[in-house]
């Protein structure tokens, strides 16, 4: 036991001193930062798409333009952030805090007052009403004349960030511009869009990116629907009622049967296991890979025989597996610490609130504890299987061929990650839980279900029995394989080897 510890210790110290280990540790924050940054980067590198509109109806475009202008102004009020005051004109800056403080429905009204010339009623303070009387026109003019770049300063959500209309209406020129790649697309609105689609066309050379088309179509739809309601003599109130969308409220039942509101933390909780499974999978893969590389290196370093003159093959194998497990745990703990500080510490430090509270998920013992347990058990099972096979190989290439079947099994949990996460207590999930090589991943995947205590007990028992069996097999192979030179044996030869009693075991060649 003492010598196994010595081997494990040396293995651990040598591993944590390698560059690869530190690169592995630093990968985690890089991955986290990338997860956070990539969508933003993709968004920001996306260039603004230019479009033109030929409006044969004569009034649709005007109405749509006004609606876009209004909506963007709404974003100005609702998404205004501190530090942007300097970009506001003085006449707006003085009253802006008051506007922002208004409830949502009143803000909608403010936009009507400014853009449609509606009269402000008693819902607003005297001060605001006076302000509207004086400045509505100025605000409208200021907003109409603002460039897309100026608007972008206030919010990323402004439509002008993504789509900018140019005023060209000559068909030949537009076609030429499309051919030259100067224009992304142009729309033709038929003579009467309220009546029919007749004459409506979308012209572009890029038919894969349909975002602009979808967005502009929605704008027209809103206008057409409004017009239809007006033409049917439906009053505003009824129109609003007709327009109201239907929605379900998400509710889940607690164990005692009481209802509970579903919020975003619950959804995060439901999907957190998937992230943990992925994490588990990567950790186990990295560590078993390290074990194989290490074993083969030691073999090619010709140290095996010297080591075997001091310790038994089983002690050697055990020491290696324990040493790499310690390396793996260090790596995993470092990652967990980083993830915790990234999702919990960092927001606290810079004083922002994440849209969903991930600290709850991370602090939940059913996730973290089962993660650590399944990491250890899963690692031990795969370590035993792979170290046995790896011991027979003289280089990584040979090893890759021999361990391919094991790696195929390892792929299954990744492929089934999402379906199991969606239905954590379904038949598929339950069945796969009882297949020991899959147990750690599938049970981790089901953590939000959660599985019953009986399931936990039985599957863990099966897993532990498999680990013991795998170690027994690995030990038999290892003590012979580790001295083997030349081509690794086939599976039939390995099977033959496993049937031979340990004492009379010999290298196959």
């Amino acid at each position: 036991m003492n010598r196994m510890f010595l081997i494990a210790q040396r293995e651990y110290l040598e591993n944590v001193r390698t560059k690869g280990f530190w690169i592995g540790i630093l990968m985690m924050p890089l991955v986290l930062i990338m997860i956070a940054l990539v969508p933003i980067l993709v968004e920001s590198t996306r260039s603004t798409q230019q479009y033109a509109v030929i409006d044969e109806s004569g009034e649709t475009l005007q109405a749509v333009d006004r609606a876009i202008l209004r909506r963007d102004f709404g974003y100005l009020i609702t998404n205004f952030a501190k530090g942007q005051e300097d970009h506001l004109p003085p006449f707006l800056a003085t009253h802006f805090p008051e506007l922002r403080a208004l409830p949502d429905d009143l803000i909608e009204n403010v936009i009507d007052i400014i853009f449609e010339g509606k009269v402000a009623d008693d819902s607003y303070s005297k001060r605001l009403r006076h302000f509207f009387d004086l400045e509505s026109v100025n605000i409208r003019k200021w907003w109409q004349n603002l460039t897309a770049e100026d608007k972008a300063r206030f919010s990323r959500r402004m439509s002008t960030n993504d789509y900018v209309r140019i005023s060209e209406e000559n068909l030949d020129i537009l076609n030429q511009m499309i051919r030259d790649g100067e224009l992304f697309a142009y729309f033709v609105i038929g003579p009467n869009p309220v009546e029919s689609n007749q004459g409506a066309r979308y012209v572009s050379n890029n038919l894969t990116d349909r975002d602009l088309e979808t967005w502009f179509r929605n704008q027209i739809n809103l206008y057409v629907r409004d017009r239809k309601l007006t033409l049917s003599n439906i009053d505003d109130e009824t129109a609003a009622w007709i327009n109201e969308a239907f929605s379900f409220e998400g509710v889940k039942l607690d164990e005692d049967g009481s209802e509970e509101q579903v919020d975003e933390t619950d959804i995060a909780r439901q999907w957190a296991p998937v992230a943990f499974v992925y994490f588990l999978w990567v950790s186990i893969l990295i560590n078993t890979q390290m074990l194989i590389t290490n074993t083969i290196e030691e073999k090619s370093n010709k140290l095996i025989e010297v080591l075997l003159s001091s310790v038994s093959p089983i002690t050697l194998m055990g020491g290696k597996i324990v040493g790499i497990a310690a390396t793996g745990l260090t790596l995993v703990f470092a990652w967990l610490l980083m993830a915790l500080s990234f999702f919990v510490g960092l927001p606290l430090l810079i004083g922002i609130e994440l849209p969903i509270d991930l600290s709850m998920v991370l602090a939940d013992p059913s996730f973290l504890l089962s993660f650590l347990m399944y990491f250890l058990l899963g690692y031990l099972l795969y370590a035993a299987l792979l170290v046995g096979l790896g011991s027979m190989c003289n280089n990584l290439k040979e090893a890759q061929n021999l361990i391919l079947p094991v790696q195929l099994i390892q792929m299954v949990p990744i492929l089934l990650m999402v379906p199991i996460g969606r239905d954590p207590n379904g038949t598929l999930a339950q069945t796969l839980s009882y297949i020991p090589p899959l147990t750690p991943f599938v049970m981790m995947n089901r953590a939000a279900g959660p599985p019953t205590t009986i399931e936990y007990v039985v599957t863990t028992l099966l897993l532990v029995i498999s680990i013991v069996a795998a170690f027994w097999l690995a030990a038999k192979i290892f003590r012979v394989g580790i001295l083997m030179t030349g081509k690794p044996p086939g599976f039939i030869e390995i099977a033959k080897l496993l049937r031979t009693p340990v004492v009379s075991q010999t290298p196959l060649r």
Binding site: R3, L6, I7, R10, E14, R17, T18, N301, K302, L303, E305, V306, L307, L308, S309, S310, V311, S312, L483, V503, S504, Q505, T506, P507, L508, R509
Partner: protein, 298 residues
């Protein structure tokens, strides 16, 4: 007292009968040579003594214990294929092997430095093994073998691939160990080396023992050979009574059929070639090997 005793040991590798009914004794405090051509079963025998392999049948006693695993800590083993942990410091590596043999870390470090000093490598104690020259690496491997002051040292082909300076060094180490009362077993396929330093030898071929015993006794048992320097036709050396000619160009070793009188052979040789010198001598181990293998296979 014998350091190693084997009785009727057999070892199979699949269908290959690698060691056949092998019995021999290595007396304590001697230098013992395992001799034989490549593939004779020397390494397999050594691995069984080191309990890296197990015999299929037969008895094996090492340092008085019939379970050789139990005395592993008193054995020092330098395999033919040997290496170092490249990323470890020389001193740490030697210390590590010491602790694997049951030494405390302090004790092992102390002795590692002592041995490094003796081998003139103290300057390299903080060097990573990958930075050592080939010769230095070999010295470090020997130090790692001797770190725990073993009672029985087993060296598998210790001279192969060494330059003359290092051959001399290894020979000195072996003789030094003997002078301290340790038993040294080494294998080689080069007879001259064994002849120079071994007290006793074991000759094996195709897994079978050809002969064993003290070098002096063995030489006495065999008919003497004739060493001569000559000019002339080598074919003329085959005179009546000469059973084998080991021709080396201008000199030759002639073995005689038993009962042949060397004086009569000398006479007939003088008529056939020009002789410069003529010596009646004990046979070399090489000669003994060739005679024995010839005898055992025919």
């Amino acid at each position: 007292m014998n350091s190693i005793e084997l009785h009727g040991v057999n070892k199979y590798f699949g269908d290959h009968h690698a060691v056949r009914d092998l019995s021999f004794k290595v007396p304590e405090g001697t230098v013992y040579g395992f001799l034989g051509p490549n593939g004779a079963g020397k390494t397999s025998t050594i691995r069984m003594i080191m309990s890296i392999l197990y015999p299929d049948s037969g008895d094996l006693t090492v340092l008085g214990d019939s379970m050789p695993e139990r005395v592993k800590d008193r054995l020092g083993y330098l395999p033919e294929e040997k290496g170092l942990y490249k990323k470890m410091k020389t001193r740490d590596l030697i210390t590590y092997f010491g602790t694997l043999k049951g030494m405390s870390r302090r004790e092992a470090t102390k002795r590692a430095r002592l041995l490094l000093d003796q081998f003139g490598l103290l300057d390299c104690e903080d060097l990573h093994c990958e930075g050592l020259s080939k010769g230095m690496g070999q010295k470090v491997q020997i130090i790692a073998t001797l770190i725990h002051d073993p009672d029985l040292v087993i060296l598998d082909e210790p001279f192969s691939g060494l330059d003359p300076i290092n051959v001399e060094l290894v020979r000195e180490i072996i003789l030094d160990l003997r002078s301290k009362g340790k038993t040294v077993v080494f294998s080689t396929h080069i007879m001259e080396q064994a002849e120079q330093i071994c007290d006793s030898i074991l000759l094996v071929n195709e897994g079978r023992k050809i002969l064993d015993g003290s070098v002096t006794d063995l030489k006495r048992e065999f008919e003497p050979t004739l060493l001569l320097e000559y000019d002339g036709d080598p074919d003329s050396l085959h005179q009546p009574g000469v059973v084998r000619v080991n021709n080396m160009g201008r000199s030759a070793e002639l073995s005689l059929a038993s009962g042949t009188d060397p004086q009569r052979t000398l006479k007939s040789l003088m008529d056939a070639v020009t002789l410069h010198s003529f010596t009646v001598k004990e046979p070399s181990l090489h000669e003994i090997f060739v005679r024995s293998v010839g005898g055992s296979t025919s």
